[in-house]
Structure formats: structure tokens, C-alpha cells
């Protein structure tokens, strides 16, 4: 199967001799929901910039749905929709005009451009605001406007660089639903984000980039399987004894009604409930102390540093 995106030995050295990418390889299958994670300055935005022609590569090869960007970049660009990190539209233009103009740059006839603009502005809940200058829109609306703009030529590969930055929780959830929907309809999505919860909730595959190198590239399930320990916080109905202890588990009494339990890979959480049940303590709720992926991310990035 032709990959949606294939990157081979991609390098980038900026004019100031900073080596942003050190020969990375990446393959994203069609229909995938792919997360590209990494700390600030790791090389995520440089990679995306090269894919969509805003940054010139120093070496390497990129193909988008089998089209080599060195051989036919315009054809490759037709497959790509990009939602950048920064707002990059004319703030004085109306939302509808911004989306219609973008369609024009891809050669869509004015009639089709308007039809598509209406479709995506409606789907992203911006149709009522179509005649408002972009500068008057809220941060979340501006973000959704960029998504509508990126989809107007109906690309097969959508790349979102930090789409949730500055977006409130409710808006973020509705954006996730939208992205899941278009992914289910066949659009391949590559996402960079600092919200690891977002990557875990949406993506099936993940690559972690650090210091210009890919330090992990696997499925989300496989990555989470590699976690060797997790810390759970248990909220207890009854007051915990001062010397609360569960055999074979590391525990920490946080306060009278809260207990932290570290569960190693292979240990069974049922044993914790059984021990607490025997002690006459009922559990009202339970949660992870930290996002599981976050712990993995920190381990990988720190390990590579």
C-alpha cells in the first residue's frame, strides 16, 4: 500500500548551523491518525514546514501518497492540508473570504469554492460568523477557521500543528469529534500536540522526536504496553488508618481519605481492592496520578537527552 507520508533520511541545517533534523525516517499509513510528539525545539514544526514547503530541506526524501516532493511538489501539495500553530490569515478579511480564497489558490472554481466553504464552515460551527472579520473571532473560532481553510480542497492528508492551543475544553472536545469523523471518512491525520491526553485519545500511532531524531515510533497500544508502572490515586469512603499498608504494593497515605498505590507491570489491581475491602475500606473513586503517556514521554525524552 502506498503510504500517506514517507520520509527518508530527512535533515535540516539552518543558516546559523543549527541542525534541526538529523536524518529522520517516518512512515504514515493511509487512514491513520498519527501523533508526532516532542518537546519544544525538537524538530516537529521543521518537519511539518518541510512537508508543506515552508522550510527547505537540507537532505532527504519526502513522498506524499507516492508523489515525491522533489519531482512534483504542486501535485504533492494537492494531497496536503495544513493547520499551522500560529494564526496565519489576514485578520481584516472575513472568514468566508479566507476559505474561498484558499480554494481559489487550489484552482477550485468560484461556485465549488463557495459550496465547499459553506460545507466546512457549517461543520465547524462558523457559518453564522462567516461575514465577521477574522480578528473579531475568538481564539477557538480562529483555530477552527484554519481547519476549515485547510480542508476546502479536500486533502487526503491533514496536518495539524498544535490545534488545541488556546482552545477551551468544550471546544477541544467538539474539535476532536470532528477530527475523528473526517478520519473515519478516510482522511489521514498527523497531529502535533503538547496535550498528551489529546494524542492518547485520538491517535493510533505515535512518533516521538527529540533533538532532531525519532526516539520512538510505534502504535499507541504498544507504547502504553511498555509502561512498567502506574500510580493510582484512590479516594476512600472510610478514614484510612495511619499505617495503611498493602502487601507487595508501594503505598502512600496522602490524607485521611486518599491513598496512592504504585502498580508494577504484572501486578493485579484486584489485589489492592481485596486488601482494602478486608480492612473495611470502601473506594468511592480512582484515577491515574499522571497521564500515562506523559510519563512515557518524559522517560523517552529524558532518556535521549
Amino acid at each position: 500500500m502506498i503510504p500517506a507520508l514517507e520520509i527518508e533520511n530527512l535533515s535540516k541545517v539552518y543558516d546559523n548551523n543549527f541542525e534541526a533534523l538529523k536524518g529522520i525516517r517516518l512512515r504514515v499509513e493511509p487512514g491513520d491518525f498519527f501523533a508526532l510528539l516532542g518537546p519544544n525545539g525538537a524538530g516537529k514544526s521543521t518537519t511539518i514546514g518541510i512537508i508543506c514547503s515552508l522550510v527547505a530541506k537540507s537532505a532527504g526524501k519526502i513522498s506524499v501518497f507516492g508523489v515525491d516532493i522533489d519531482k512534483d511538489f504542486p501535485a504533492a501539495k494537492r494531497h496536503i492540508g495544513i493547520v499551522p500553530q500560529e494564526f496565519n490569515f489576514n485578520q481584516f478579511e472575513k472568514g468566508l473570504d479566507i476559505v474561498i480564497n484558499q480554494a481559489g489558490y487550489y484552482g477550485l472554481s468560484p461556485g465549488l469554492a463557495r459550496e465547499r466553504a459553506e460545507k466546512y464552515l457549517r461543520e465547524l460551527g462558523l457559518w453564522e460568523q462567516r461575514d465577521i472579520p477574522a480578528r473579531m473571532l475568538s481564539g477557538g473560532m480562529k483555530r477552527r477557521l484554519m481547519i476549515a481553510r485547510s480542508l476546502v480542497h479536500e486533502p487526503q492528508l491533514l496536518i495539524l500543528d498544535e490545534p488545541s492551543a488556546g482552545v477551551d475544553i468544550e471546544m477541544r472536545r467538539s474539535m476532536w469529534d470532528f477530527l475523528r469523523r473526517i478520519n473515519a471518512q478516510g482522511t489521514t491525520i498527523i497531529l502535533t500536540t503538547h496535550y498528551l491526553e489529546e494524542a492518547e485519545a485520538l491517535c493510533r500511532h505515535i512518533a516521538i522526536i527529540n533533538h532532531g531524531k525519532i526516539v520512538e515510533n510505534t502504535s499507541m497500544k504498544e507504547l502504553l504496553r511498555q509502561l512498567d508502572r502506574e500510580v493510582f490515586i484512590l479516594d476512600c469512603v472510610e478514614k484510612l488508618p495511619d499505617n495503611t499498608h498493602i502487601d507487595e504494593f508501594v503505598t502512600r497515605r496522602v490524607d485521611d481519605h486518599t491513598l496512592e498505590v504504585e502498580v508494577q507491570k504484572g501486578q493485579n489491581l484486584n489485589a489492592v481492592f481485596a486488601a482494602l475491602g478486608l480492612a473495611g475500606i470502601n473506594i468511592s473513586s480512582m484515577r491515574n496520578r499522571a497521564n500515562r503517556l506523559e510519563e512515557m514521554f518524559v522517560n523517552l525524552v529524558e532518556g535521549a537527552a
Binding site: 539552518y14 514546514g49 508543506c52 514547503s53 515552508l54 522550510v55 527547505a56 511538489f73 504542486p74 501535485a75 501539495k77 494537492r78 496536503i80 495544513i82 499551522p84 500560529e86 494564526f87 496565519n88 490569515f89 489576514n90 485578520q91 481584516f92 473570504d97 479566507i98 480564497n101 484558499q102 481559489g104 489558490y105 487550489y106 484552482g107 477550485l108 472554481s109 468560484p110 481553510r149
Partner: protein, 257 residues
């Protein structure tokens, strides 16, 4: 992209440019009409009446072609420099750069947008001039060709300025310190015959001398430089500006990292 799609992309950029300068017409169209009215009153009527004839015409008749050309030059230049730099500044130029539209179409979209503003202002200023003098055209063909070539040349120059500009100061430095002196020294207000030989020769390096005189020939039928030489120089300057603009776009200098 096929030819039809490239045409759609071109028309998109062109329409966007027209909408932009019409939306802010008090900043783009009105100032030229007011400034040129003042020039007509002060240089044409008040001072001109004391100067007498120049090149065989009343001073008012002599300066009108130069002043119309001055409006075309400044407007076609400033439209592209401010619009393209504005899109660089806001980041919206990336909308074009990530799309499959060719660099040639991008350049033409902005340049023809600038040319259209130059033409529109030329019409406005010409209409204003009719309040001060009877304008009879010697050759409509030459007038149209010179106007189109000149506005194209200075729209291209505005594009180059915009690519190099890093701040809003940078887009006013060239018009203030280069373009305006070239216009004033380009024979708008005087005949080249009045200059000492040395300065007349130096003036031949000024592209404004050729556009002002070619246009004056189209309107009045007189010129300080030969028409073929004027056309030749305009073509050379335009070709160089076009080639350099395309080089900037193709190399991605100051547009892509």
C-alpha cells in the same frame, strides 16, 4: 495545476487585491486625487502662470502628463509593497506558499493588482486635471502602452521591496528616499534641456526620465528622449525587475526558511 486552475488562482489573487484597495479607498485612491489637485493648483496655476511656456506648451499642459505618471508610479508601487509585505507580516503569504499555485501566478496576481490600482488612480487624476486644463491626447496607443508598462515596472519594484522588507519602516524607506527623488528628478516639472550637460547625462540613469517622457510624448507629442530609447529602457528595466522577482520567489529567499 492545469491552465484553467492557474487562471482561477490568478483571478483569486487579483480579486483579493482589488477588494483590498477598494475597501480602504480613503487611504489608497483619495490621497492621490487630493495631492494631484494641489500640484495642479500650485505648480500649474499659481507658479506655472509666471513660468510661461515649456517645450512649446503652457506649464500646466507640460506638467500634467508627468503628474499623472507620478500618480501611476507611486500607486502601483505602494499597492504591491504594502499588500505583499502585509501578507508576509500577518503570515497569510503561507496560504499561497503551501498551495500548488505557481510562483509566476503569485507574482502576476500581485503585479496586475498593483497595475489596476495605478490605472484607476490615473483615471481619477486625469479627470481632476480636466478641471485645470484641456487635455488632448497625441497618441492613445502610446499612452496605453506606456501606462501599462510603467505600472508593471513599478509594481514589480514594489514586490522586490516587499520581499526584502522586515518592518513597516522598510516599506516606506524606498518610496521616500529613492522613488520620490527619482520622480522629482525625472523631468516631471522641468525639461531635460534645462539641465547642464553633466546632469542631463546622469539623468539618463533614472528610469523615471524615460517613463515620464514617453508618456509626455503620448499626450503632447514632445519628449526630451527618443521614443524608441524610452521604450527600450522601460522594457529593459521591466525585464530585469521581473527576472529578479521570479528569482526571489523561486529561491524562496526571505519567504521560506
Amino acid at each position: 495545476m492545469n491552465l484553467r486552475e492557474q487562471y482561477v488562482a490568478f483571478m483569486t489573487i487579483f480579486r483579493k487585491e482589488i477588494k483590498r484597495y477598494l475597501r480602504i479607498w480613503t487611504q489608497t485612491l483619495l490621497p492621490s486625487a487630493i495631492t494631484m489637485s494641489l500640484y495642479f493648483v500650485i505648480f500649474g496655476t499659481l507658479i506655472g502662470s509666471r513660468i510661461g511656456e515649456m517645450g512649446g506648451f503652457s506649464y500646466m499642459e507640460f506638467v500634467v502628463p508627468g503628474l499623472i505618471m507620478m500618480a501611476i508610479v507611486t500607486n502601483s508601487y505602494s499597492n504591491v509593497v504594502s499588500s505583499f509585505f502585509g501578507s508576509k507580516f500577518s503570515g497569510s503569504v503561507e496560504e499561497l506558499l503551501v498551495s500548488p499555485v505557481s510562483n509566476f501566478v503569485i507574482l502576476m496576481g500581485y503585479v496586475v493588482g498593483g497595475v489596476s490600482r495605478g490605472l484607476l488612480v490615473a483615471v481619477v487624476v486625469t479627470l481632476v486635471s480636466l478641471f485645470f486644463t484641456d487635455l488632448s491626447i497625441h497618441s492613445y496607443l502610446i499612452v496605453v502602452i506606456v501606462v501599462l508598462m510603467t505600472s508593471t515596472l513599478f509594481a514589480l519594484a514594489g514586490f522586490i521591496n516587499a520581499v526584502y522588507a522586515n518592518s513597516f519602516d522598510d516599506i516606506s524607506i524606498i518610496p521616500t528616499f529613492v522613488l520620490t527623488p527619482l520622480i522629482y528628478l525625472g523631468g516631471v516639472f522641468y525639461s531635460m534641456d534645462m539641465l547642464p550637460e553633466f546632469w542631463a547625462n546622469v539623468s539618463k540613469l533614472n528610469p523615471l526620465v524615460y517613463v515620464v517622457n514617453a508618456f509626455r510624448y503620448g499626450v503632447l507629442g514632445v519628449s526630451d528622449v527618443s521614443l524608441p530609447v524610452a521604450f527600450g529602457m522601460i522594457v529593459i528595466f521591466t525585464t530585469l525587475a521581473f527576472a529578479y522577482s521570479m528569482h526571489l520567489l523561486n529561491s524562496g529567499k526571505r519567504l521560506r526558511q
